[in-house]
């Protein structure tokens, strides 16, 4: 088996040499379509770009800002179908699978083998990064979705500890409500509603249930009692947000926690950047932890990765620039610098994170532990595993439930039916 792999690699390498003309070999430019355009993200990208160019590459930046990458996905599709695919882009891993099936993903196995990616990446990530055993997505950032932030002063004033379980959370929230404080800062946009829902399912049902219901889409789990209880808790949270939550941007919700207008926010770990920017000390003024959970386990992640495209389908040959960039992406220094800037944690394991803030160090610790005991689950919305139609169905159901007065039973049925539809 191993022999065969080496032979294939050699064949690839020879192929590369014969195809590449000398002039072409000098050209190590890669155009990169991405949506990491704001503050910390841009700094993270700059770190990658710098390392890439220091090694002789040319980074042609083609950032498209906006809403979790909708603009990016659209640009990537228009351009690829027009025969003008960018050298690299950052589709969600599940979308990269579809691009790979359509034949547009460049082959990077030579780089992967040379740099021992298989050994250096968390085992749980690998299936989602590969199609037919070949890398289709190179992981750069890892974010945790199920995190919670709290205003330390508000908690102290009301005699509240950082709640670990949903029961504790509810007790704390009721006390805050009685004291006239908004317990939960939330922005009523569908994707934020859905993040809240995911955190609730993880907390109420546990990591294994989360995987069975929302990743494997098991109908029995979707219609189970645990799901019903999740919807009950989700409904309860609706009573903990303020009246004006609709349409609020997530960072304004973070602002409410920072200003002491609200006590908690449940949001992915990118919210950290917002608190640091407001000049608050993470771990002291702003407390962070996993979102409440009834069993102390589980970690819902998204891997942000780059995929490398070929202009024509089924021509898998990567350009020298693409190979170089792929190699650079998984260099320890690059991973450390880029993730430090973005507030995420590196995809590579075993790095020294002493320069990171306490919240990130904790996150990396939980990540390693969850990977070890098999409780690492891909977030639905992160799209590392779930395909787009499934993500959409869960988002629709969560937001429709949260913004109406549906019963939990109706919620369960709606979600299960929608997922049945989406996977037909």
């Amino acid at each position: 088996m191993k022999m065969l792999k080496i032979e294939l690699l050699t064949a690839c390498a020879i192929g590369a040499m014969t195809v590449a003309t000398p002039a072409f070999a000098q050209d190590k430019s890669v155009s990169v379509v991405h949506y990491w355009t704001s503050g910390g993200e841009a700094a993270a990208i700059a770190a990658v770009k710098e390392a890439f160019e220091a090694q002789g590459g040319t980074w042609i930046d083609q950032g498209v800002a906006g809403g979790g990458g909708d603009g990016h996905d659209q640009v990537l599709r228009s351009r690829t179908l027009a025969g003008d695919a960018p050298g690299a882009a950052i589709p969600k891993a599940s979308d990269a699978v579809e691009w790979a099936n359509a034949g547009y993903i460049a082959d990077l196995e030579a780089v992967a083998a040379e740099n021992k990616w298989d050994q250096n990446l968390p085992a749980a990530f690998l299936p989602s990064l590969k199609v037919d055993g070949k890398y289709i997505a190179i992981p750069l950032f890892v974010h945790r979705f199920d995190t919670m932030y709290a205003n330390a002063r508000l908690l102290a004033e009301n005699g509240i500890e950082m709640p670990a379980t949903w029961d504790e959370f509810n007790t704390a929230a009721d006390r805050l409500l009685a004291a006239g404080i908004t317990p939960l800062a939330h922005g009523g946009q569908s994707w934020q509603d859905e993040i809240l829902f995911e955190a609730v399912v993880m907390g109420v049902g546990g990591a294994d249930f989360f995987r069975k219901a929302l990743v494997e889409l098991d109908q029995e789990a979707l219609r189970s009692d645990a799901m019903l209880k999740s919807f009950d808790q989700f409904r309860r949270l609706r009573g903990y947000v303020d009246a004006n939550f609709s349409g609020r941007d997530w960072n304004l919700a973070s602002g409410m926690v920072a200003n002491g207008e609200a006590a908690f926010q449940i949001m992915g770990d990118w919210a950290k950047g917002e608190f640091s920017a407001a000049g608050l000390d993470l771990g002291r003024e702003i407390l962070c932890s996993g979102s409440p959970r009834n069993t102390p386990e589980g970690f819902s992640y998204v891997v942000n990765s780059l995929s490398f495209f070929t202009k024509q389908p089924n021509q898998h040959q990567a350009t020298p620039g693409q190979e170089l960039l792929a190699k650079v992406l998984l260099e320890p220094e690059v991973q450390l610098a880029a993730n430090l800037a973005k507030g995420s944690v590196p995809a590579l394991t075993g790095l020294d994170l002493s320069t990171y803030d306490q919240c990130s160090i904790d996150t990396a610790g939980f990540l390693a532990a969850a990977d070890a005991d098999g409780k690492l689950v891909p977030s639905v919305q992160g799209g590392t595993v779930n395909v787009a139609s499934v993500r959409g169905a869960v988002i629709d159901a969560a937001t429709a439930f949260f913004n109406s007065d549906m019963s939990s039973e109706e919620g369960v049925t709606m979600l299960a039916d929608a997922l049945q539809n989406a996977t037909e």
């Binding site: 042609i60 228009s78 003008d84």
Partner: protein, 295 residues
Amino acid sequence: MATDTITGHARAPKFPWVPVLLYLTLGVLAFIFIMPLAVMVLTSVRPLEEIRTAGIIGIPQHVTFDAWGTAWNEACIASVCEGLQPYFRNSLAIAVPATLLSTILGAVNGYALTKFRFRGADTLMVLIILGCFLPLQAVLIPAAQTLSSLGLANSVFGLILIYAVYGLPFTTLFFRNYYVAVPDEIVRAATMDGAGFWRIFTQIMLPISWPIFMVSVVFQFTGIWNEFLFGVSFSTGASQTVTVALNNLVNTTFGVKQYNVDMAASLIAALPVLILYLFVGRFFVRGLTAGSVKG
């Protein structure tokens, strides 16, 4: 007044209800219309710290134009920190030719189909005008593939073509409604004198068309300048249009929102169109009057 004397009541001058009501209504409407702009302008001159503490809507305590400077030539768009200023040229290079092209073709269509009503002319007109209603989200992918087969993918000419073609239904509609009201006798008389199709167009129709020309130009220029969907799909990096760059500046989901810079950038991006309106708005009305409905 006359009636007053006739009825014999010695009245004080009558309270001018009609004008007061007129100006009051106009005043209220004007206030409503100016409010969003006022909010934007006020936000753009407040320091970020003040917005953060006092809320998004409010009267500035400190007036500063820093945000305008930042938006113009410092703000980072993707990894390029030169503000909006480099992207104006791209937008102009696309909007000006596309506007002129669609306006001229629209004029030709309107003229040909109203003054030379050959068999099927009205059907053609309906076919052209129905193009107004095509939802552009639906045609993005075939448009991408067509541009690529024409060799125009990722080029300025591709966008010019797209904007010109999708503007045609509107410009044709404008000119149709204008030319319909131009007496046919003019064309008939010119034909008698031996003038051909193009001579009548250039020497008789065009000179009286400038008002609707203005309308069409303003309409098209506004639409193209502000267009986002095709802009983002077919222009990238350094070649992106101002509206796309503005989106890249404003619509960053993660990170700190600089509301003052966002608003200043929005105003700067809208400035060329606003100026066009200020200049041309006058001709708009005066001009439209000249040729229109005196049938």
